[in-house]
Symmetry: C2
């Protein structure tokens, strides 16, 4: 059985903080700095260029990918790390467009998708892509034979609404479309299974629920049934079948490694590797069950204590990821007041208070303390101060 | 005057090693591990998501870019960091294709370019790009009015041959083409000046002569005369004019920041930031002069002591970057034998022994020791052993 007291002890949470923003940036694993220092001193410092072989840097993107594969229902050798999530979205969608019928060019997404995914597709208009955006609840009806690619983020970054991956993917396939899933708010948070869901491509980042640190590398998976045909328009030497032959013509590697582009971020990926130790011996089903317990407790507590807040997430936990959001007209100032009191969630425009539930390091005490402080801030109007209304560069 | 004894003391070079491979991976600055640990513990650990504002993570790609700008002749605010070099090549060439005449689609490059740059353009065939590759010495003659984009790496990764950036750029402009320069083997090594050279785009990596560590982020520069028009097909939220408005439609940021894509690699970039301290108080003209001294000494020494080696680099230092290569039929085994004796250069297929000269941490003693050991390995045939002929994954 999962021991969440053990995992909680693996992370540093500053004194006095209830950290409900691990869905934006996971906290620091206590092992992170030592791991980084070891890689820097022993591998880079001691082995220099030889580290590509002797320290395993070259195979690291696939070795770490295997650790994430287990968390998303993929098999060994099916996931590779690198770049950022938007780059991986760009690769997946461009590869999907090439696999789709040549007579189709529409990429269907929804207005709840993270904007960067939409921007990536807008850029692909140069290869003829046409982005079609509908409301999240209209996606299912909008899947028809005009669609080349269905591109969705499974869990909505604002509301936490969770799409039904198996059902939407099945409908996309029946219509002859390719399904690309962004797991940014899924990986390490919910019991996603790309294999039984029969997705075509899945991508995600590793600095949220996977706790890899600010700007940690992204991952990409392609279904084995198409991995050897998939060809993104963004390609580089590390995805070549024989990178060190230095030949002039690109020839993609056999499987998912073709999605590698340039030199991988060795030190950052080592920190992520250390962070993934927290998942050892725990199943995603256990994490998911615990996440639902904590989220339900939070919703019940807030609704009982804070009549001024309106739930902005699905009430049914099966239709939700691992975050809960509430709306308030002065959400920005309210969140700043909460942060000042050590309850760290975040604000999303225009009126969303967002809270993430991450069983690896949160427990009932955090939830109850957060409820109590939210209630106090709203009851006393403590948010109504100029310093809480002053916008910062990154919000 | 530049004090290269001071800079040498800033790096860790293992005992018994003459490191002539800083053109592949720069060595570890002694400050690297402590800087990484400080960013991990104090910023990520202590400030959590707040680090984007309070620790300056959000502006880091431009702040560090400013430090590199000085080394390549660019102005403040003109360079931004992120991704890997191949991604930046892809962005620059795709943006250049859009700026070029709509009637042109040819990207001209040469067979001495690093293959990943060629692969990036081959991927862009999806937007109509046609790659044309000629021999390095034929580039000038091949620039004509059929060319949309001239894409060259200034310093050849195998031979060290240096293209004449101002002359080739001027010819490209006269023909109505856009010039994209890859500075992978230039930045921090030679006195490149993108401003007086009037390049349109310049890109580079930071793990070679800039010593940022394995997989350190890349940089991109656009000439201010076009930066506000340039639009790569790979675009993401961090390059949006208002990323935190989370709007559905992409609207590029005003200047070079539009080349940002996803969440930047904060920890890796902090290590690079620490590494760049070595360049403080030194001009690229000083580094270049010292590089020529060391390279000339090496060539003279090898040619006097090793009649079996053939110089594979231009003899004129003005036509060369900061590396020197020699050919030998058994180059792979010879290099392994050298590495076993602490002379670390590298091998490039099919027959190249490559040595980089990096004044920040190399001196005459390293050069003379390398010459002596190369001579000994060749004279004694010490390379002719099975263990030196066994190929490794990364060569």
């Amino acid at each position: 059985m999962a021991d969440f007291n053990r995992t909680r002890a693996l992370f540093h949470i500053p004194e006095g903080v209830s950290y409900l923003d691990g869905n934006s940036l996971g906290p620091m694993p206590l092992a992170a700095a030592d791991r980084a220092a070891a890689v820097i001193r022993d591998e880079w410092g001691g082995q220099l260029i030889g580290g590509w072989n002797s320290a395993g840097w070259y195979v690291q993107p696939r070795r770490v990918g295997d650790r994430i594969a287990r968390l998303i229902g993929a098999g060994p050798g099916e996931v590779v790390m690198g770049d950022t999530l938007t780059v991986k979205v760009f690769q997946a969608v461009s590869a999907a467009l090439k696999l789709a019928s040549a007579r189709r060019n529409v990429v269907l997404s929804d207005s709840g998708n993270f904007p960067s995914d939409l921007y990536a597709v807008q850029g692909l208009s140069a290869m003829g892509a046409e982005l079609r955006v509908v409301a999240p609840e209209e996606v299912e009806a909008a899947i028809d034979e005009s669609i080349a690619v269905l591109m969705l983020t499974e869990v909505d970054y604002r509301t936490g609404r969770r799409h039904d991956m198996p059902a939407l993917t099945a409908k996309a396939h029946a219509a002859g479309a390719i399904a690309v899933w962004d797991l940014a708010h899924s990986a390490g948070a919910v019991d996603v299974d790309v294999t039984s869901g029969d997705a075509d491509f899945a991508v995600g980042c590793s600095y949220k629920y996977l706790n890899g640190g600010p700007g940690a590398p992204a991952f990409i998976w392609a279904n084995p049934r198409i991995a050897a045909e998939a060809q993104p328009i963004l390609q580089g030497w590390m995805g070549h079948d024989a990178p060190f032959d230095f030949v002039t013509d690109y020839r993609p590697a056999g499987g998912i490694e073709r999605m590698r582009v340039g030199t991988p971020p060795v030190i950052a990926m080592s920190i992520l590797d250390a962070a993934l130790d927290a998942f050892d011996g725990i199943t995603m089903a256990e994490i998911r069950a615990r996440s639902i317990e904590l989220s339900q407790r939070f919703i019940a507590g807030v609704e009982a204590a804070c009549p001024g807040l309106r739930l902005n997430s699905p009430r049914d936990p099966m239709a939700r990821g691992s975050q809960v959001s509430f709306c308030h007209d002065e959400a920005y100032a309210v969140m700043q007041a909460l942060i000042a009191r050590g309850v760290v969630g975040d604000y999303r425009a225009p009126d969303v208070l967002r809270f993430g539930f991450t069983p690896l390091y949160l427990n009932e005490g955090d939830v109850d303390r957060a409820v109590s402080i939210i209630s106090e801030v709203l009851d006393t109007g403590a948010w109504d101060r100029p310093e809480f209304k002053q916008r910062q560069a990154v919000t």
